[in-house]
Every structure is written in C-alpha cells, then in structure tokens.
Amino acid sequence: MTESTRPRRSWMKIVLIQLVLIPVLFVIADVAIGLATGYDAENTRARFAAIVESMQSGVPDPGRVVATERIKKADLRLHPYTGFGPRGLNESHNNEFRLAKSEPLENEYRIMILGGSVAAGFGNRGSGGIVEVRRVLKEDPRFKDRVIRFLGQGFGSYKQPQQLFLASYLLGSGVVPHAIISLDGFNEVALSQQNGEAGMSPNYPAFSQWVHLTNKWGENGDSMLDALMKIRDARERGLAITGTAERYGLHHSSLIGPRVIGRLQHEKRQFSKAASEYIGLLRNADGFGPLAGPNFSKKHKRIAENAVRMWKESTRALNSICKDRGIFFMNVLQPTLHDEGSKVLTESEVVTSVALDSWVRGAKLGYPLLRRAGRELAEEGLAYFDASLAFKDVEATLYYDPCHFNQLGYQVLGIRIGERFLEALPEGELPK
C-alpha cells in the first residue's frame, strides 16, 4: 500500500508544480519579452479598436479607444446632395442648424473639417490632429482669446464633389464657419479608379456605397444576401474577439496581445474578401445603367485624369464660395501609404498595406497628378498645402491599413496643418 501511494503523491506534486510554474513562467516570459521588445499595451489596444472599427465601414476613432459595445455600425442612407451619408448625418446637421440659429459663443472661431474618413478621424473630438491644430493656433496672438470649435464634417468614402456639395448645403442652411479645411486626395484617386474600373462614372460617389444603396437586388439577390451575411459574420466575430480581449485586459500581455491582433487581422481578411465578393456582384448586377452616370473613358490613366480634374474644379469652387463670404479656405493633400516615396514603411505597415489593385493603381497614377494640380491651384492664389510627404522622415509605424493612420500620424499631420494654416491665413484681425 505504502509503495503504491508514494508515486501517486509524487505525480500530484509534479502536476501542482506545473500548474503554478507555467503561469509564473508565462508571466516572466511576457514581462521579459515586453521589456526586450518595448511592447506597448495601449498601442495594441488601439490596434484592436482600429481593426474592428475598420470593419464597420465607418470612421476610425484614433483619439480614444472606444469600448467595443460603443463602436458604431455605419449604416448608410441615401442623401440627395451627396449621394449617401452615415446614419448620424441628420443628427449631426440638426445640431449644427440649431447652433447656427442660436447666438454663437462669444469669440468662438469655427473651423469646418471636410473630407473622407481620414478627415473624419482627424476632425473627431479627441483626435491628436485637431488637438495639435488648436495648440499651434493658440500660440498665435490672434487666437489667444478665441475659443476654437471644430465642425467635423468628414465622412467615410467621401470624395469630391461631395465635400463641395455638403459645404454648399450647410452654408445654405445657415451654418457659417470662419474657416474650412478640406483634407482629401486619396479617395479622389483611389475610389474614383475603383468606380471607373467597375463601369461607374469616376465622378460619382464611391461605387460600393452608391450602388449598394440604389441597386435593386434582382436576380443576384440570394448571392448578394450570402455575401452580406459573410460580411456581417466576420464583423460580429471581430467585435466578439475585441470584446473578450477588452474584458480580460489581454492587450497587457506581450504574448497574447499580438495573437489577438493576428485573429482580428484574419477576420478583417475574411471581411474584405466577402466585401470584394459583394462588390463583384454589384458590378455584375443588371440595370444600374442610369445610376452609373454619364459616359467616360475607361482607360486607367484617363480615369485618374478625370478624377483629378473633378478634385481640382471642386476645390476651386469651394474656394470661390468661401472667398465670397469671407471664409478662409485651405485645401490639404493628405499623405497616403501607396504614394511612392511618401514614407519608408515599417514591417507592420507592409503587412497591413494590402489593398485593392484599383486603389493602389489610383494612388500611384493619381498622386503625381494631384500634386501638379495642387501647385496650379496655389499659383491661382488658393491656400493649398501639399501634405503628401508629411510622413517622409517619420520612422515609426503610422499606418494601420492602406490609408488610415494612428494617433501619432494625426499628431504629425496636425502640427504641419496648424503651422501652414497660420502662414496662409490673411494678416489682420480675425473675423468675429
């Protein structure tokens, strides 16, 4: 009996030691790796949110890490003057119209930020972008006693002339900013190229949003529903993973955190694959004839030229309507990852840079044309700032996908925009 109990006790001991030792070793390894690699838990947490937010087709929130349950699903709606808008657009405009009707705060200086999702992230409350712009402006004596308020009017997938028509609509409804910054360029060349290659006018709103909203499903209905379900499943799985990671603080672990990112990236790939499938079905759908807009040349180069002309003319138009009302207007050409030579990419940026061929082609063909058109606008006297190379000398990781950047990216851009704003702003007292 005594001989048979001895080995049992020894096994139990070994198991017990293992149970204690493995977690301890794990924690030691975690801390050691964290120290050795300079692991940043907050950055990992931000990346969880960035990946899962990018799957909502909405606007990234780089300023803060939102709780998973608060991440908004960007349900789209038709809009008569911009083609489409997110669900919250009416509420945001209600608010602006109400403020426009009431007495403004004394010494308030209102800056409207226009553009696509990058501009939306830049103009979000809490974004490093506007925090830096405000800080730089406040250093100027003219802004000393002014309360700077940003009117964030950037929306995912917006491209010219949507910014122009949105601003016209807001001005017509009584909203009067002191300045307008249009931060754009990428969607104009990337999404226009995608439009053109899908057979839709490059100057119409983003194909995947416009056709999705206007197309009647018809004979492809079941396949479209399947693709939409796949998109939804990947999105929900992404949300669940992030939710669990948030709840247990998994971002603190240098061993588990990257694994969670890996899982999320896998779901993002599934999401993108299903989204491409859906877009392909939309492209093949019958009957979007008149919804595709006027005829245009389908050659890649001509599509890029067409897109840049629309950007240039719309920017000029925005400048004219602002000038007429004494509103200071500045156009900023945003930096983007696939613009060759604009940044030396980090390993992480290379991994997350995968994009549709048409987007990459659009950026490569379009950015040189945008820069040239921008110079021409500047020669005409328009306040134009080419920020496409703003990240050229930054070695850190800024992009978390082919076009959106993190908090540090917004801060770098915010400082440059603030400085250029002050340089270009006409001398003399600011308008009341």
Binding site: T82, G172, N203, A317, S320
Partner: protein, 432 residues
C-alpha cells in the same frame, strides 16, 4: 304575304336616309355651333396636348406642335448630387461633356439656362423665350458675329440647391458657358412648403420625386403596384384617345372636339386622383425616416424663410463660382400666377390655374420674401433681375396651369430677360 315584301324596302329606305341624314345633320350642327360659338379647334388641340404633357410630368413644349405620341414619358432616376434627374438629363450631360472636351466652334457664345420646368420650357430649342433673347442680344454690337447656343439645363421640379449642384458638376466636367441664367423662384417657395407639410425637410428635393425614388417598397409592394397601375393606366388611355382623335382630326369639329377633350380630361382627372393618392401614401409611410432629412421647425413662416435663405445662399454661391471663372451670371425671379398682383388673370387662367392651398400660400407668402432677398443679393453684387411683375400689364391668357406659361408668355419674358442681360453685362468685349 303581299304586305311583307313591301315593308322590307321601306325599312331599308329609312335606314339609308338615316345613314345619310345623320352625318349631314351633324355637319350642319357642327358648322352652326362653330359659327355661333366661335369654336377654336387649334385651342382644343393645344389643350389636349397640354393635358398629355402634364400627365407625362415633362418640361412643357413651348411650341405645342409635337405629336401627342411623340411626347416623352419622363423616367426619373436617382442622381447623387441633385437627388433625382430624368434619363434625358443624363444623355444631355453625356452630349455636353463630349462637346466640352473639344474647343467650341469659333464665335460661339454659350448661355446655360438653369431652373425648374419653367426654365426648361424657356430654354428649349423651340421656345420664343430664348428666340427673343437671341434676337435682342444679336442687336447689340458686341454679339455681332457670335453664334448664340443655349445649354438648356432646366428640369421639372428642380429647386435650389439643385441648380447650384448641377452647374458645379457640369463646370467640373469642363463645360464652359459664357453666361448662366438662373430662372427660378416658384419651386423654391411652393415645393418647399409642400415638402414641409409632407414631413420632409424643405431644403430637400421635391417630396413627390425624392420619396418615390428613395424609399423601398418593402412589404407594401402590392399596394404600391396597385396605385402605380392606377396612375399609369389613365396616362396610357389618355395618350391613346388623344392621338387617335387628333389623327382623325376630331378636334376640328365643334361637337366632337369638346367630347374628345372631355374624354382626355376624364383620364387626366383619374390620373391626378391616383397621383394624389400615391403622394398621400408616401407621406404616411413610416419608413421615410432618415430620408426626410434633418428635423425642422414646421411653421410656415420659418419654412418659407429657410427656403428663401437656401435660394439666396445658393444663388450667391453660383455667382461666386461663375465670377471666378469669368462667366456672366444672372438670376431671374420668374413670374407666377398666384403671386398676388403679378397679373390680372383671364377667365381661362382662373379655370386652368387652380392650385392647392399649399401652392397658393407658398407663392403669395413666399414671393415677397424672394423679392426682398433678391434686392439684398443685388446689394452684394449678384446680378439679380426681378421678373415677377413682367406680365402685370398683359391682358391675354399666358398661363395654362398654376405656373407654366405659353409661347406668348415665354416671348414676353424673353424680351425682358434680354434687356436685363444687356443692361447688367459688363462693358467691353465679350470673352471668346
């Protein structure tokens, strides 16, 4: 037996006499009625043509000599920047964009006409409005050797900011008119009030068009199909009856002409009732939600004041856009029947110009606001011409419904617009 053979020829005789007598009597009666009542067969033909036109929802043909079956049934489609547009609008744009890629013919002077259906009729090829405008401009030495081409861009139910967005979009495509005439005002106050009463934001496009195109049929497919069939059926029957009647020249007869007119009018009445039913149905649908735009204070006074602000701000923006491009811009406030004191209506105008209480209120309460805002536009340097009183001294019938006028009305307006155009056009040589 002997009686019966004699009876048969008598019946035959009576029948023969009847067959000959009735047409002769009808002809005699026709001639008598014609002589006594001064029956105007041309007026009947025009009235039938007008009814069909109104049922087809198109832009009125000012010449009114198109075959009824040649009249286009306007198929509407969603448009990303103007909310909606006709298929004809899209093909017109493709044509203009193609022309814009090549240098225009030497000596060509291009005038773009913007606005709603009144501007559409005024700007059309067969209109005496543009006919008179061309004739009077050509008397000015500056227009010697210049070929004047009108780019007609007036579309049914358009109201600001649709004109602004349309012009912007066309400029961005490279369309370069030398002058832009924006003939508007009526839709801006009448359709906005109608929008508000239908629960849709006044600054959104015309409710009936926007709600019809943007809302999903969903579970109410059968109800909607029933109503749409009730609209389409009398439309087709009216076209069939009118084209057959006009083909056999029935309108020439003072007896059959009014009967034909009555038949067509009956179909029009049924069409109007079904259209009304559809509008009421759309209004009651709960699903319009976000498509109704931002919230607004639903008080007539505020609605009209907001509508006039949108009109005035959009006109200001159009002026700025044109000025920057060296394009001469003229905003013309169109005359309208229910603008109190603008014309002494004839009996016929009273009969044909019936309108809903909303339309009447929109015109009578909105026009004074438009005139006041127009005067302010002038002070800001915008070329504004108040043509709301041009029909004041005209005793003849000009209006054939609550807002559209006939060829004579277009001619009167064309002359007045030409005089204002020449007076406000900057001195010096015209641009090439």
């Amino acid at each position: 037996m002997t009686d019966s053979p004699t009876k048969k020829p008598r019946w035959k005789k009576i029948l023969l006499v009847q067959i000959i007598l009735w047409p002769v009597l009808l002809l005699l009666a026709d001639l008598t009625v014609n002589l006594v009542s001064g029956y105007d067969s041309e007026a009947t033909r025009i009235e039938i043509s007008e009814i069909i036109e109104r049922m087809n929802s198109g832009v009125p043909d000012p010449a009114r000599d198109k075959n009824v079956e040649d009249q286009e049934v306007v198929d509407l489609s969603l448009h990303p920047y103007t909310g909606f547009g006709s298929r004809g609008m899209l093909s017109a744009h493709t044509g203009e964009f193609k022309k814009a890629r090549k240098p225009g013919p030497e000596g060509e002077y291009r005038i773009m006409i913007l606005g709603g259906s009144v501007a559409g009729g005024f700007g059309s090829k067969r209109s005496e409005g543009t006919g008179n405008l061309r004739k009077l401009l050509k008397l000015d030495p500056r227009f010697e050797g210049r070929t004047i081409r009108f780019i007609a861009q007036g579309f049914g139910s358009f109201k600001q900011p649709q004109q602004l967005n349309l012009a912007n979009f066309m400029f961005a495509w490279g369309v370069r008119p030398h002058a832009v005439i924006n003939l508007d005002g009526f839709n801006e106050v009448v359709l906005t009030l109608q929008n508000a009463r239908s629960g849709i934001n006044p600054t959104y496009p015309s409710f009936a068009r926007w709600a019809h195109l943007s809302s999903d049929w969903g579970t109410e497919t059968n109800t909607i199909l029933d109503i749409l069939a009730a609209i389409r059926e009398p439309q087709e029957k009216a076209v069939e009856l009118a084209s057959r009647g006009l083909k056999f020249k029935l309108h020439k007869s003072s007896i059959l002409g009014p009967l034909l007119l009555e038949g067509v009018s009956g179909h029009q009445w049924r069409h109007a009732q079904a259209t009304k039913e559809y509008t009421t149905f759309l209004r009651r649908r709960p699903s319009l939600g976000p498509l109704a735009g931002p919230k607004f204070p639903n008080e007539d006074e505020i609605v009209l004041s907001d509508a006039v602000r949108m009109w005035s701000e959009s006109s200001r923006s159009l002026h700025a856009l044109c000025e920057e491009r060296g394009i001469f811009y003229l905003n013309v406030l169109q005359p309208t029947l229910h603008d109190t004191g603008s014309k002494v209506p004839t009996l016929e105008e009273r009969r044909k110009g019936q309108a809903s209480a909303t339309w009447k209120l929109g015109a009578s309460a909105g026009y004074p606001l438009l005139r006041a805002a127009g005067a302010k536009l002038s002070e800001l340097g915008v070329n504004f011409y108040d043509a709301s009183g041009v029909f004041k001294e005209v005793e003849e019938t000009l209006y054939f419904d609550a807002c559209h006028f006939n060829q004579f009305g277009n001619a009167v307006l064309g002359k007045a617009v030409a005089e204002a155009f020449l007076e406000l056009l900057p001195e010096g040589e015209l641009p090439e």
